[in-house]
């Protein structure tokens, strides 16, 4: 029951978010602002987790695949595939749900309880559109770059492991990275990221926008935003994979 109430309210909010903006120029400025706030500022965390993840995947693969029947070149190949297919889209999105989602929900939630949203409404501004739409657009456009970056850095992480631990030959690792490369898997990964970005921003925006009460409630709203967007990401990961790769 609560689920359907959520869906209804979410749908109503989204129709407000996507209704025609009053002035495109202002939105353009806000989108650029959000690209910096939500996008640029996430480069660091995406880079750090990617390099460690690439490194550990390579390490795991080389330990577990130590067999004369499995060619070492598969290690680079596997690292690349893991990064592209799941890590750089889904796992990075989960991390960003934590960082960006809580940021959005607490920012908008605070604006709600300090009457800043009422102030916008009084001015005749579509507050939902004004606050949430630029964030959705900024993240949907920018997060795919984070994914590309993450794939690159993850593969580099594996290379460093190969180079510094001597567990395998770095050249073989590079050969593996290049092996049997299908450009479509990048497309698949980027589609997922774009969808996940929309999920994170819209759900977090939703919880912030409907926050009420005091700072405690804003804290709860931001926790909920992270939990619900993370679960939604995992569900959509399954759905999209089914649709694109199998269906």
């Amino acid at each position: 029951m609560r689920f359907f109430e959520f869906l209804g309210k979410y749908y109503i909010l989204m129709t407000k978010v996507f209704s025609k903006p009053e002035k495109i120029k202002i939105y353009r400025k806000r989108i650029l602002f959000e690209v910096e706030a939500l996008g640029f500022n996430s480069i660091g965390i995406a880079a750090i987790i990617s390099i460690f993840m690439g490194a550990v995947v390579t390490l795991q693969m080389s330990i577990n695949l130590e067999s004369p029947f499995i060619p070492q070149v598969l290690i680079g190949y596997a690292t690349r595939e893991v990064m592209i297919m799941e890590f750089s889209s889904t796992v990075v999105a989960l991390i960003l749900a934590g960082k960006v989602g809580s940021n959005i929900a607490s920012e908008i939630g605070t604006m709600r309880i300090t009457e800043q949203i009422d102030a916008l409404e009084i001015m005749g501004v579509n507050s939902a559109g004004y606050l949430i739409l630029p964030k959705i657009i900024a993240t949907v456009l920018f997060f795919p770059f984070l994914t590309i970056l993450s794939i690159g850095i993850g593969c580099a992480g594996g290379y460093f492991v190969a180079m510094f631990t001597g567990i395998m030959n770095p050249d073989t690792y590079i050969d593996g990275l290049k092996m049997d490369f299908k450009p479509f898997s990048i497309t698949y990964s980027l589609i997922k990221t774009a969808v996940f970005a929309a999920i994170i921003t819209s759900i977090s925006g939703f919880y912030g926008y409907y926050a009420k009460g005091n700072s405690l409630e804003v804290g709860k709203a931001s926790t909920k935003a992270v939990v619900v967007s993370s679960i939604t990401i995992l569900i959509f990961n399954l759905i999209i994979t089914q649709l694109i790769l199998i269906g």
Partner: protein, 251 residues
């Protein structure tokens, strides 16, 4: 002029405003007073359409505000300025950008024209050299001034203030009160102010509506208040020693 007729507002079956019928006049500072929780903020927010009302009507001059469709509502919003209890400035924008926002949204002025208007309004509220500061970096009294500047930047016909001087020292309160009164008279605005400050009542109460437990209990001017024998109103008034003395002297 703003008029309400039998305005009723409830939350989850609990009636918060019961049959409010009153008139707020143009060019005057109209005060809504009452104890904490009596329904002042709900009344103010109902008047501006932030709370949908259950029944009754609200008139802005000759326009029935409560019947307006979305588009007309938007048009009339440009004539409304509101000062919120906490100021409600956008935290992520500078003072200047906060005041400029309504101009950005609703006018086609050039950047210079907009800045000129912003500076005029900031001057009007005597706030100088704070243009580039953020709301977190200015004092409570300054926040209120910026909020007033933002509320008047589009030359509103109707101005709403929710406890404009709460949290301010007596001197600053007085300055803010008088500023609002001056602006009201200067531009012939219909101003409605929520307050429980008896100082403001005596200073600027051209017309006062006393709300008691969601009912309009009494109305009149600040002179009338001294002569009223309404029991609940008197209890409210007597809570302020200064007002009590003034009242006893009159009787």
């Amino acid at each position: 002029m703003i008029r309400t007729e039998n305005l009723v507002k409830s939350f989850n079956d609990r009636i918060v405003l019961n049959n409010i019928t009153t008139v707020f006049e143009q060019g005057k500072t109209n005060l809504i007073i009452g104890q904490s929780g009596s329904g002042k903020t709900v009344l103010l927010k109902s008047l501006v359409g932030l709370h949908p009302i259950d029944s009754g009507s609200i008139y802005y001059d000759d326009v029935c505000f409560s019947d307006l469709n979305f588009k007309d509502l938007k048009r009339i919003r440009k004539d409304i300025g509101m000062i919120f209890q906490g100021g409600a400035l956008l935290d992520s924008s500078t003072v200047e950008d906060n005041v400029k926002l309504p101009l950005d949204l609703f006018t086609n002025q050039t950047e210079e024209e907009k800045l000129e208007r912003v500076n005029f309004c900031l001057n009007r509220v005597e706030l100088l050299n704070a243009n580039q500061r953020y709301p977190a970096e200015i004092s409570g009294g300054m926040v209120k001034r910026v909020a007033i500047a933002r509320a008047i930047v589009l030359n509103p016909k109707y101005l709403f203030c929710d406890e404009p001087n709460s949290g301010l020292d007596p001197v600053t309160s007085c300055v803010i009160d008088n500023l609002i009164k001056e602006i009201t008279q200067e531009y012939q605005i219909t101003t409605i102010i929520n307050t429980h400050d008896m100082n403001s009542v005596m200073e600027i109460g051209d017309k006062i509506v006393y709300i008691h437990k969601g009912n309009k209990w009494w109305e009149g001017s600040n002179d009338d208040i001294l002569r009223s024998d309404n029991k609940e109103l008197n209890e409210f008034v007597f809570a302020s020693a200064m007002a009590k003395r003034a009242k006893l002297a009159t009787l």
